[in-house]
């Protein structure tokens, strides 16, 4: 039982990372109708930027905050310069564009930072020791990741539901034309969406780096597929779905791999195919996802 709880908590922590990335994907999809395949590589790039800041003497949390700002600005810049030109066009064009970004950012990360072994300072962002809660070992890092995720999600919720800006953001995603007619600068709202998504990705990247040292340019590749699976599972248009989906996938994957020792299906290496299977099943059975609205197609 203790092992079960431990794995659940660990799964929730890794699931939080998937949820953050998935949330970014959903925000972009809701506002611009584009699936950002480059979401993971954007996260990797910003994580390397953070490492550079720390390497130059900036304190970890200072670098964390600064990186979020840089990521935010970068996301806005990306949308305003490149992405806006493919919005509203054929799906394939946007797909190729984000794939191009995926390749470009991956290449840039490799080029600028080369393949040296680097890590963040130990015990950053959270100590790697664990608490003993009634026999269950809960890693402080996992708890920290969960806590920050909760705070971020609440902050975003507040932004979207309680502020005028949030209302404008939601309106722009729901009905861009009507939004423009009431005076909302829809273009900048979309850019803001990309900025928020980039910042969420940055957090996901920093947590991934903390959980899997040393820093590796390919670290977000599997996270991307889990995040896509989470977004699809929860419903591509549903922020709540992205979070629930991410946590669910984190927990379920962890449990499956743990209990694989009993069935010997060598499932540890099959995580990505399992995520793919999840995507496939959801898309076939209920494409709108758990929390999505089933769209009625008018013929």
């Amino acid at each position: 039982m203790t092992q079960f709880l431990q794995q659940v908590v660990a799964g929730l922590a890794s699931g939080s990372i998937y949820a953050l990335l998935a949330l970014g994907i959903v925000i972009i999809y809701r506002s611009t109708g584009i699936v950002n395949f480059a979401q993971g590589e954007m996260a990797t790039f910003t994580t390397f930027v953070a490492w550079t800041l720390v390497d130059h003497g900036v304190g970890y949390w200072g670098a964390f905050a600064l990186t979020l700002v840089i990521a935010f600005a970068g996301g806005i810049a990306l949308e305003r310069t490149i992405v806006r030109r493919v919005e509203g066009g054929p799906v394939i064009t946007a797909v190729i564009l984000t794939i191009g970004l995926f390749i470009l950012l991956g290449g840039l990360s490799n080029w600028i930072w080369k393949a040296e072994v680097r890590s963040f300072p130990p015990d950053r962002p959270f100590p790697t020791s664990a608490w003993d809660v009634g026999g269950v070992a809960i890693s402080k890092q996992d708890a920290g990741i969960l806590a920050v995720t909760v705070v971020l999600v609440l902050a975003l919720w507040a932004l979207f539901q309680l502020t005028k800006l949030g209302l404008a953001l939601r309106a722009s995603a729901l009905n861009p034309t009507a939004s423009r007619l009431v005076g909302i600068r829809v273009g900048w709202m979309l850019a803001l969406g990309w900025g928020l998504a980039a910042a969420l990705g940055a957090v996901a990247g920093l947590f991934t780096a903390a959980a899997n040292p040393p820093l590796d340019p390919n670290m977000m590749r599997p996270v991307l597929i889990y995040a896509l699976a989470a977004a699809v599972l929860g419903g591509l248009e549903s922020p709540v779905g992205a979070i629930v989906g991410g946590l669910a996938i984190g927990v379920v994957l962890n449990l499956i791999v743990t209990y694989d020792t009993h069935v010997h299906l060598d499932l540890d290496r099959m995580r990505i195919p399992m995520a793919f299977l999840a995507i496939l099943i959801v898309l076939l059975v209920r494409p709108a996802g758990i929390f999505g609205r089933t769209a009625v197609r008018r013929v």
Binding site: V35, F37, I82, R85, V86, G89, P90, V91, I92, T93, V95, I96, L97, I99, G100, L101, F102, I103, L104, L105, G106, G107, L108, S109, N110, W111, I112, K114, A115, R221, I225, L228, A229, V232, L265, D266, R269, M270, R271, I272, P273, A275, F276, L277, I279, L280, L283, L284, P287, V299
Partner: protein, 341 residues
Amino acid sequence: MSRLATVRAAVTAVALVAGIVLVYFLPHADRIGYIKGSQLGVYFIAILGLNIVTGYTGQISLGHGAFMAIGGYTTAILVSEHGVRDLWTIPIAALVAGLAGFVVGVPALRLSGLYLALATFGLALAMPAILSWDKLDAVTKSGQEIQLFNSPHLLGKGFEDVHFLGRTLSFNHAVYYLTWGIALLLLAVAWLILRGAPGRAFRAVRDSELAATSSGVRVATYKTLAFAISAAYAGIAGSLFVIALAFADPQSFPATLSLTLIVGAAVAGLGSLWGVLAGAAFVQFLPDFAVHISKAQGVPDTVYGAALILIVLLLPTGVAGGLRRALSPLTTRLYTRSQSQ
């Protein structure tokens, strides 16, 4: 025959001859050589197939590398385990991959545009892990390299000279001509399919499934057919790839291969056969070219990604679309002239 049809036939004939000549002289071009030339041919075939499913029926597949892997592994297993002559494995690989394409194509019917792209993207990412999975040992050898080098069933055992029609060719030469011979053949086949009734049905499906259905086109049939055909093409490409390499392993078919293929198809210009060579050349030579700019790690991808983004922004309809636009003053005159007859 109307003037337009005459012109079309003439252009096609010229293109065919030009293609054969090009194939003969290509390896002598600077820095290309027979090995890269074969690789170009492999991409050409795979992108041709992908164009059929994504360009002509509008189903976005980000997972065609998986079909290449299936074709490639079919060849590898048959040659190494069952002693089948490599050339005979090519049609078998086509069949197996085509069947896999059909199997994928059926559920794909329920997924539109972006959802299909997501599902196939997942397939592409999952393939390397599946190929390394212990439980599929019989088929994939658990991700260990399947060595074909020195196999008597392989063309020239992978390194010796090959005797063909009284002439002696080195292994690389032989592979090159084999690849491009098949490529030109497949191009002709694609051209025939696409200009006939199936081609019209494909285009109808892409432009409006609703209209196509009400016009009596069995949309489901044609969509799965397109998937199967394109997968067969990719399977042949994979098979030729493995023959050229003389081995097969999961790293030869990484997730990025599927991305490379869709990039090639997009650069080529979806829905037209004219740009496929340009698309294949783009994905084959741009990374090589980038390496010449700087040998630093990551530069090729940076240049490649940047070029891709530029093309998407400046030439969204690909090379074929650009050609069409550039030539439109010529072709409009042809069209109007024939109408007045």
